[in-house]
Symmetry: C2
Subunit: 328 residues, 2 copies
């Protein structure tokens, strides 16, 4: 097990080995339509096709395999707006571990159904009123479960880093674009990418209304923002992670932001032109590429991080953010 | 060029060569969730990822390449509820051929947008009132264009047959399941499949409310039904083709039907579990497999024929056909 203080390429390589029986080696998708719109070759790492519907399965399996005996004995508990919960539930079912999950009452219905489908017990909380840390502490106190952090854990980061570790064996890219929430996916990907290719440019993307990391980069220190409300529900955190931030500060070239409208437009594009269901958080990195915010590299790697949204929810988001008529 | 009277495996092999620069060799998708529900291994030929969004690109390119000089001189005209129109428009744009298209006024908005996007001129007609043959005859008379049939043309059938021709090099299957409308896709696939593997079982699938081929099989002769209205708009024909029917009568083991509800449930399953956008017509064959109508073979090949639907239209169909709550 890696220590809390460092995230190394060795830890990511170990994670890749460890979770190989559990997760999919997802493909890299290409689209002539998207390349034309972006004016460059775009390599889309298809984590929406990952087990449990997002990259979160990688970190969850890595963590639970590392604490397997204790987890089977005591059970685990996670708090998450969706994909982390679904991934921990998925890994728990595969590995024979009891899972409790705390989800906000407004978490997407599909994420709730999927989490329940993997056999986890769901407890709801209020995204705006309840304190997530307190909920978890109380649960651990009452039941003796082990808490599984969504991002501020080196084993979780190492698992997520296998996304970029794989992508760079599948495609040659000059720039890597990754969505940022707590920063665990980015921290893992940045370490993996810099180890594989020291001259790579790494760009993080946030929703404009959930720009805690962009503000933190500008200030040079972690900034906390009020609970954001964005179509990219998976990216709605209030601050970068304590462990993830210094790693990202060191390795990420810059953080850019996109509007909710740009995110939904990108979901629609992926739906209509590529026939792929990608949730708003998962389309955020590509939205930045299409907005021209990621530089002029010829080959851009983009992490499409998840696809857990149902057709009714996606249609409602599109209705609230109608595409410009000239695009259709 | 093949003659009107026969569809041979040679013609399909020639078509595969001819259209190779124009169309995608689509992948075969697998899903543990679908295999579990079906109780067998399901090999999904992903024609929703085909150029123009459906298998129709294959026949259209084969036909237009065979009549290239005349088509460039005179232009072509097609009548279609959607995917044939879009495919002819796509091929026309690639090959430098002017295209006129007649579409029903209620054709899905995405198919209209895509057809216009490929530069075709669209003329609308009324699905219930207008006679398609008369529209085409009048257009040919007035403008000297060449009519491109949607299915009753051996060159079109040969192009569509490359779907099964490819699939059987990609997967080993005991049974092949194909959606049926005019029967062009099936006729081509049946000839290709029987040539590759004489013991293969071939099953056609229609919407229960558009069962012209099932009735025709039962009667042993082509039956005409009133214009059907089904969620599978691409399968809403009134009778099997004049040329396709005898081929299918000879080679297809049986024709089964599924309800509109089963079709929409399958679209939702593909959306939520596979993150794939498949239009109702394209999900019809899989619906029959999941309904247990396609026998007990271990390995079933299924043609997912197209993906041209937008999120608003799909959400409206799902709202009108809500999934059983126990499935979610």
């Amino acid at each position: 097990m890696t220590t809390d203080s460092e995230l190394t390429i060795d830890a990511i390589e170990d994670a890749a080995q460890r979770i190989q029986p559990d997760v999919h080696r997802t493909g890299v998708l290409h689209s002539a339509a998207i390349d034309a719109l972006a004016g460059r070759r775009v390599h889309l790492k298809a984590e929406h096709l990952q087990r449990s519907g997002s990259f979160k399965a990688r970190g969850a399996h890595n963590k639970l395999r590392l604490i397997l005996d204790a987890a089977r004995r005591h059970g685990v508990v996670a708090v998450s707006s969706g994909n982390h919960a679904t991934a921990v539930a998925c890994a728990g079912q595969r590995l024979g571990i009891p899972v409790d999950v705390y989800m906000p009452r407004d978490a997407p219905a599909l994420k709730q159904r999927a989490t329940r489908g993997y056999g986890a017990r769901i407890h709801f909380f209020d995204r705006l009123l309840d304190d997530r840390a307190q909920l978890i502490d109380a649960h651990v106190e009452a039941h003796g479960s082990i808490a599984v952090e969504p991002f501020d854990d080196v084993d979780i980061m190492a698992g997520q880093g296998t996304v970029a570790y794989e992508l760079l064996t599948q495609s040659r890219v000059d720039t890597l674009v990754v969505p940022m929430s707590g920063g665990g996916l980015m921290a893992g990907c940045a370490v993996a990418a810099c180890a594989a290719q020291s001259d790579i440019t790494i760009i993080g993307v946030e929703p404009a209304v959930a720009d805690d990391t962009a503000r933190s980069f500008a200030k040079g220190d972690r900034v906390e923002i009020p609970q954001p409300i964005t179509v990219a529900d998976g990216l709605a955190v209030t601050a970068p992670g304590r462990l993830t931030f210094p790693i990202n500060q060191r390795l990420v070239d810059r953080v850019v932001t996109v509007s909710d409208q740009q995110i939904i437009d990108t979901c629609v594009l992926l739906f209509e032109r590529c026939k792929q269901v990608v949730e708003p958080s998962g389309a955020t990195a590509l939205a930045a590429v299409l907005a021209g915010l990621t530089g002029d590299a010829d080959d851009v790697g983009v992490v499409m991080s998840g696809g857990n949204i149902d057709v009714t929810e996606l249609a409602a988001l599109v209705a609230a953010h109608p595409p410009p008529s000239d695009r259709r």
